[in-house]
Structures are given as C-alpha cells and as structure tokens.
C-alpha cells in the first residue's frame, strides 16, 4: 500500500486505501438487539484497515472516530485524492500509531452516514431510507457492531482501542463490555458522561436541524435537504470544538474583505462569520442531518455510572482489565480536564493501571486531531508498553 508517497509534517502515509464493508444479521432471527430492545437487521459496517496483521493476530489497534468522522482515518482513496483520512497525522508508518508495527482497524459508527447502517440506509421493510424509523442507538450498540466485525475478521483480542471525544467513549465502553479482549485503552479529550453544557449544545444543534422546514420529520431523502439547519448545527458544534484563544488568534475581530461594517444582515462582516458559514456548508455536502440527530443523542445518552448501575463513579470500572492512558487538553471546554480527572479517579479506585496527562494546547477540544508531537510520542510509547507487557 505504499505506491502513494504523500508526505505530511508527520511523515509518510499509509498510501492508497480501500473502504470495505461487512454485512450481518441478514436473517430476521439474527437481528442485532439494541440497547433500547429494538431489533435491527441487516447491519452493514464500513471499515478500513492499515498495516499488516501479525501471524499471531496480536497487533490489532482499533480506532474510533468522533461525532462527524468516518472509517477513513488514514491514507487516500486514489492518486488524485487530495484529502487524506481524518487522523492522517497520527496513523501511518513511523507515526504515533505506527502501521509498520500495528494492524489498525477503523470502522464507521452505527447510526452515522459513513457507510455503516444508519438513518439514511434503506429500511428493508419499506424499501426507502429509514429516516426517523431508524431506532435510537447508543455507544454500546456501536461497540457491539464493531465486535461483530472483529469476530468476522477472526480477531479475538485487541492490543488497544483508541479514540477521542465520542471515539473515547467507545474505547471506554469496549473496556467494560469486552474486558478480556482489550489490552490498552487510549481515551483522549473524552468523558464518562456528558455535562449539561455538552447536552445543551447538542440540543441546540438538533433543534436547528428540526426547525428547518426541509427536515420534514426526517423525510427529506427524495427532496431538498435541511441544509440550513445542518449547517447551523455544525457551526454550533464547531465553536464548541475550538477555544476562546484559538478563535481570538485565528480571527480576532478582523473583517472579511472590507474596511468597515456593512450595516446589513445579508452580508458577511467578520472573518469568523465567514469561517463558520464555510464550515457549515462544507459539512452539509458530506453529512446526513438525521445521522447528526442520532449520533448526538447517543453521545448524550452515554453515561458509564448509569451503565454500571453504580451510585457513584467508584464501581464503574470494577470489571475492566485494561491499562489506560487518559489525556485531556487545557483549553478543551467541551470535555474539560475535570471530567478526565473524574475518569482517572474512577479507574484508580478500581485499582486499574492508569496514566494521565493534561497537555497544554490552545486549540480547544479539537486539539487531539491537530498534529502534536507530544501526543504522538505518548501514544507510540504507551502502545509499545502494552505490547511489551502483553507478550510477557
């Protein structure tokens, strides 16, 4: 896979990659039973792999994407493709997750629109897209689907599960749902459960979509998309992923291509407005509005304390067996450091092996996606250690 030799700041790329898929639960009797009790089938899961699976199948790292990502974590789809996967700076030969050493599996999550079954998939009962008939899914359901894929690939044990934000939630869920199958957990900029602040922003974003007349109760697949609503939802999300400092540095109060205010509403005055509108309209081209509703709902529902039926965080990780690396970023106000510390405390109280570092970064919540030598080194050395201890 090395015919493509694009280099970025972090080194060479995994090259040309192919999106693959696996479908299961094709017979009604085999349907996936979701956390809500609803049965779902068939289920297709889209995935990509990078690197080589070792003969003993002991070098597998599973990557989880965040809210708006998909399974395309690294590499390019063709030689003409200018946009690499979302974690190109972390995944590749010689990088933080080194594809010369590890076999990396990356899937698209259930309920989203990255090729895995979601509200825009065809409902076998009607022959039309599910829309809001798609059942509400949880982070646990996403993880169940990933486990089905790994069973299919005959991968029994994961060296590590890695993810940031919603991806970190999946990684944590893996450590509890399948404790015997996970060696290490790398949880970046994540939380054991959403704060009221995080739920509030998600709700505003959902309301923006649902207030768009084109949304039409989720039935828009044969007509106009709720583009305005989804763009506004993305704009809200984008602000929460950045930070005051990052916004100040990037835009300040600079005006967009003008010397003075326009004194109008249909014109763009500030650069930050232009940036957000651009982000919003770009997002509409690649993301499904209903998926946004489902995925944000799953993130809001995620609650490890509730899941463990624990009266406090103390018992949450009683069943976990993995080693953990927890990383937060100083300027992240969506999942602030205190939430990572809560997670670390819960792990300590259960006598789990846990390392924690708060990395100084101005970029806000998105800091884990931005090239960061410190983070790459942390991840590389943690994976190395887990592998060393596993082979003992």
């Amino acid at each position: 896979m090395s015919e493509y030799t694009a280099h970025d700041a972090s080194g060479p790329s995994v090259g040309i990659v192919t999106k693959q898929s696996y479908t299961f639960a094709e017979k009604p009797a085999e349907a996936l039973v979701l956390e809500s009790g609803t049965r779902l089938g068939p289920v297709t899961v889209a995935y990509e792999t990078y690197g080589e699976l070792s003969p003993t199948r002991d070098n597998v790292v599973l990557i989880h994407h965040a809210l708006s990502g998909d399974c395309h974590a690294a590499g390019y789809y063709s030689k003409a493709d200018t946009k690499p996967g979302w974690w190109e700076t972390m995944v590749g030969p010689g990088k933080g997750i080194d594809t010369d050493h590890y076999f990396v599996v990356s899937t698209s999550i259930l309920g989203s629109c990255g090729g895995t079954t979601g509200p825009c998939s065809t409902n076998p009962a009607t022959g039309k897209p599910y829309g809001l008939d798609f059942p509400v899914v949880t982070v646990g359901d996403m993880v169940e689907v990933q486990k089905k894929l790994l069973d299919h690939l005959r991968i029994e044990r994961l060296l590590a599960v890695v993810g940031g934000s919603l991806g970190g939630m999946q990684a944590l869920e893996w450590s509890l749902r399948f404790p015997d199958r996970v060696g290490g957990v790398i949880a970046l900029a994540t939380t054991m459960r959403h704060s009221a602040l995080a739920i509030a922003f998600n709700e505003i974003a959902r309301q923006a979509i649902m207030a768009d007349p084109n949304w039409n109760n989720g039935h828009y697949y044969d007509g106009e998309k709720p583009a305005t609503g989804l763009a506004v939802a993305r704009m809200i999300g984008h602000v929460t992923y950045l930070s005051d400092v990052a916004l100040r540095r990037k835009f300040g109060r600079r005006l967009q291509g003008k010397e003075d205010f326009s004194f109008q509403f249909d014109d763009i005055d500030f650069q930050v407005e232009s940036y957000l509108r651009h982000q919003g309209s770009k997002f509409v081209e690649r993301f499904d509005a209903n998926s946004f509703l489902y995925v944000t709902k799953a993130a809001d529902y995620f609650d490890l304390e509730r899941r463990a039926e624990a009266d406090s965080a103390v018992k949450v990780f009683a069943g976990a067996k993995a080693s953990f690396l927890v990383v937060s970023f100083t300027s992240d106000w969506l999942y602030p450091t205190y939430q990572s510390r809560e997670l670390v405390r819960a792990l300590k109280k259960n006598n789990r092996d846990v390392s924690f570092c708060e990395i100084k970064a101005d970029a806000g919540h998105d800091a884990f996606l931005i090239p960061n030598q410190r983070l790459s080194r942390l991840i590389a050395n943690f994976l190395e250690r887990v592998r060393r201890e596993q082979s003992k």
Binding site: F356, C357, L378, N381
Partner: protein
C-alpha cells in the same frame, strides 16, 4: 571585621557553584522531543546515573512489590525499580513535561497534585509509598504522612537535612539563609515551605508513634551522583535523611 558587610565575596566561597544538572522545581526544564523518532530509546539508567539517594531507596524495595512514587519527576527511580526489581509502579508528578517523559519510558504516571491524588487509593493499596525530597514542600506533612501510611504498608521519606554544617555555617557566621546543592533556592523563589532536620524529624516520628523500620543518613557529592552513609554525627554531617516507616 568587615567580612559580614561583604556578602558577595564570602557567599561565593561558601556556596556550591551553580549547578547545571538540576533545575529548580519552580522553573521546570522545557520539554525537548528528541529528534530520533517517537519512541523513547532504551536508556541505560544504571546505578551510576541515578542520584545516590534514589539508589539507597531502590535498595530498600522488595522485588515484585507495588510502589507509588510521589513527585516522581521523569520517573528515574520507577524506571530503575521496574527494570531491576520488576515492581508494579505508579508515579505522580505535577509538571506536564516530566509526566510525558515518564509515560514515554513505559511507566504509569498520573499528572496531579500529591495531596489530592493520594486520596483516591484504598487502604493498603501499595507495598511502598515513596515521598522523596518533597516533604519540605508539603503544606500539611503530618496529615499527608498519615494518609500515606494508610494507603501503603510502608512509606519511604527522604528530605534534605537543614542542619548540615554548611547550612549552619551560613546562618551563624553570615546570618544568611542557607543555599546549597540540596537547598538550591533563594528565599524569594524557593518551593520549600519547611525546614527539616534529621533531629527534628526523629522527634516528630516519636510524637506520632510511627515505627522506623530503617533509617539512614547520607552525604552526597556536588552532583548527588555518589555519596556515603553517615553514621557519626548525622544531623551535622549528612546532606539527606532517608526513612522507611510503618504504622506499627
């Protein structure tokens, strides 16, 4: 007799030359990623490269035990203990760059404040809790040591001996707050909020009723790399006191 009025000259004679290998804690060394790649090279961290006081502590730890190192820095001691004694170790360190270094060495390190972090462990979680050269910076030392003796079966405590003769000389003769290799700070930038002598610490232990399982006083060279055990007049001649404590 104007010597006391000429502080700079005398001061230079009595104070150790400025050291280059130990940054004040208040001003940590900047993190420098090495150019050789992402993985930490296997550094030979043998006895000779580790501080002498840490070597003494390492010699007290039983193989295969569970160790908590408070204020672990870049994890030199834990690394050594992991390599040579196969301990299961956790370090706690405040400074991000040092935490990163420790984790990169393959150690388990938590970034945080000692006093807060130790609260999360259940009684008897560790075989050893190590508080190396940090006691002089702790706000409530009696309370902290009580917690440590709770979460660990045994506690190692080491501290710079304030009543070393060089310090006494600086106070008595020059009327100046001592500055030495072990106490390298000026009054206005020191992180140390307490002065502890071996004699004072022994009195304190007696008062608390804790058991001293081992104690040693050491005198170290300028770089703290080499040293010797002091048995004669330790409160006067030793640069560090090191104790192994248990509740009873």
């Amino acid at each position: 007799m104007n010597r006391a009025n000429d502080p700079t000259r005398d001061r230079e004679q009595l104070t150790d030359p400025p050291d280059d290998d130990r940054e004040p804690i208040a001003n940590p060394s900047p993190y420098e990623p090495d150019a050789g790649g992402l993985r930490q090279p296997e550094v030979a961290n043998g006895e000779a490269t580790m501080r002498f006081d840490l070597s003494v502590i390492a010699s007290w730890i039983e193989p295969g035990s569970k160790v908590l190192d408070l204020g672990c820095g870049e994890g030199d001691l834990l690394y050594q203990l992991k390599q040579t004694k196969n301990v299961e170790g956790t370090g706690i360190e405040m400074v991000e760059a040092k935490v990163l270094r420790g984790i990169e060495k393959g150690l388990t390190v938590l970034q945080g404040n000692i006093t807060e972090e130790v609260q999360d462990y259940a009684a008897g979680t560790f075989d050893y809790v190590i508080l190396s050269q940090t006691l002089q910076q702790v706000y409530a030392p009696a309370q902290l040591l009580k917690t440590l003796l709770d979460i660990g079966h045994q506690v190692v405590v080491s501290f710079p001996n304030f009543s070393h003769w060089k310090n006494r000389w600086q106070i008595c003769w020059h009327g100046r707050v001592p500055i030495s290799k072990q106490l390298p700070f000026e009054w206005y930038n020191t992180p140390n909020i307490r002065t502890i002598s071996i004699a004072d610490f022994q009195r304190f232990l007696k008062k608390m009723g804790w058991r001293i399982k081992r104690e040693t006083a050491i005198n170290t060279d300028h770089h703290d790399r080499y040293g010797n055990v002091v048995t004669f007049l330790p409160n006067l001649r030793a640069t560090y006191g090191i104790y192994l404590l248990a509740k009873r």
